[in-house]
Amino acid sequence: MSNSSGILVIAEVSGNAVASISTEVLGAARRLADQTGQPVQAALLGSGVEGLAKDLIAFGADQVYVVDDPLLAKYSTDGYLAALEKVNAQASPAVILAGQTDMGRDLIPRLAFRLGSSAAMDCLSVTAQDGKLVAERPCYGGNARAVNSFKMSPAVATIRSKAQDPLERNDSRQGQVVKVDAGLDAAAIRDKVTAHQEVAEEGIRLEDAEVVVAGGRGIGSAEGFAALEELAKALGGAVGATRAACDSGWRPVAEQIGLTGKIVGPTLYFAIGLSGSSQHMAGCSGSKNIIAINKDPEAIVFKASRFGIVEDYKKVMPALLEACKKLKA
């Protein structure tokens, strides 16, 4: 264990490119590396992905361990765990980082236990203190923050989307590419994806939108969201919703913002007819400017907002829409 050194980032591929969350985690790894003098390693798993190794180097990796295997073409728990055990044996990192994504949530707890350690999930930051990794993460629905250190090595953590900045891409950075043979046995991969259903998101992706117009229980109905759609359209943004609004069937699950939904950090976030429960605010607290519109002056959302209007949203939206259209004209 005392021989382990290096910060290993488990990279993800989105389409034909490195996922942006991975560039963020690489940024965090690079900052840790600068503090501790250790190398940044990346694990690149998939099929036909070797060409992306150079992108990982451009975003901060010193070494990229490539596991290219048709059995890794789609994510599977057993397949990716087996492949990462091989990478870990070769790279011997002191720290393993991944994004808090569909893959990260599924993979990291098991990988950490398999390696004799445990994981800190959904971290906002990871830093080195006295040579050991310290991770800070929200808990109690965002009401509190926990600061954890690790008893065992490697220290394993996932990083929340948009919590860390990527480095500036630098194509002149040098790095090594190491090919790792996963030696996977198809029969040993017990979990199999038999169907995939994509939920088509119309218009701009929530996570990419600079303006989000979100509504909650206070909107009252699916029809009530029409006003939010119009405002989003006028401002070139996207519509979001609380879990309550999605559970009521007013908005699709893909629009759910919160601790177990999407995490967004737009320039402008309208929080309309929503109380501001910490589970929801966990999803939008990264926003640069939050504007609350709520008829309840005691609603906790006002405590997290830069601007507020205490009114029934129905009375405010028509004039707000007109005024915003004029601003954009």
């Binding site: 707890p109 959904d122 109690y140 250190s149 979990d191 640069k288 997290a304 707000l320 601003l327």
Partner: protein, 269 residues
Amino acid sequence: MPLHIIACVKQVPDPEAPASAFKVDEAAKKVTPAAGVASVVSQFDALAVEAALRVKDVASDAKITIVSMGPAAARDAIKHSLAMGADEGVLLTDNAFENGDSYTTALVLSKAIQKIGDFDLLLFGRQATDWDAGVVGSGVAEILGLPSVSIAKAVAVQDGKVVVERVLMEGYDTVEAPLPCAVTISNELGEPRYPKLQQIMQAARKQVSVWSAADLGLDASQVGAQGVRLNLERLYQPVSEVECEVMEGETPDEKAQKLAQRLREEKII
């Protein structure tokens, strides 16, 4: 052989309680239990029990055992789950279990599950609504060497396999895995059923076993504060730096116009 499902539940302080009631005792590194805040079954765990009951709705001879690790009061979480329709309960309680982490929790649950034996399906909430970690369910699967599928919106059992609809950011996958298997449940599963009064009364007659660390073959050094793999260095409440500027105006229209004006002044739009 009838299907045996084990669902693990945790009792937590009600996360719907007003945020103003929430206080952290930084010296003790604990949340101060607030007066009047109820203890409830963690939201996603109640859905794990619901998922078990939906499997039993189809396979009526299935047996559902509820397991909970916690203080003596966690018995209420088990009783609620039995009232929903589960068959038996096991309470794991011991001072030695206190101040543990996700790893020690997973270890204790794994030992209990092994002691119960003969199970087909393990169900967990995707994360507890206090620590929000999301580690225990998959962690138990890892300790027991089982396949696992996480963040499920639907679970069905067919021909010795589990068929799961797994929620993704952009849609969902259908995943199959052989039994025995562990699955963690997400809010997209829907609503947990409410027990009727008759079921609550029947639940009082269902068996609840109580096991300690010794019953599980564990000693204090392996569990609780002594067994953790993650140290809690600090627990604190972040202070909000934001001061809200509330729009003034005689009418809602005026307030809306004022807001637009402020957004232009601040160069936000």
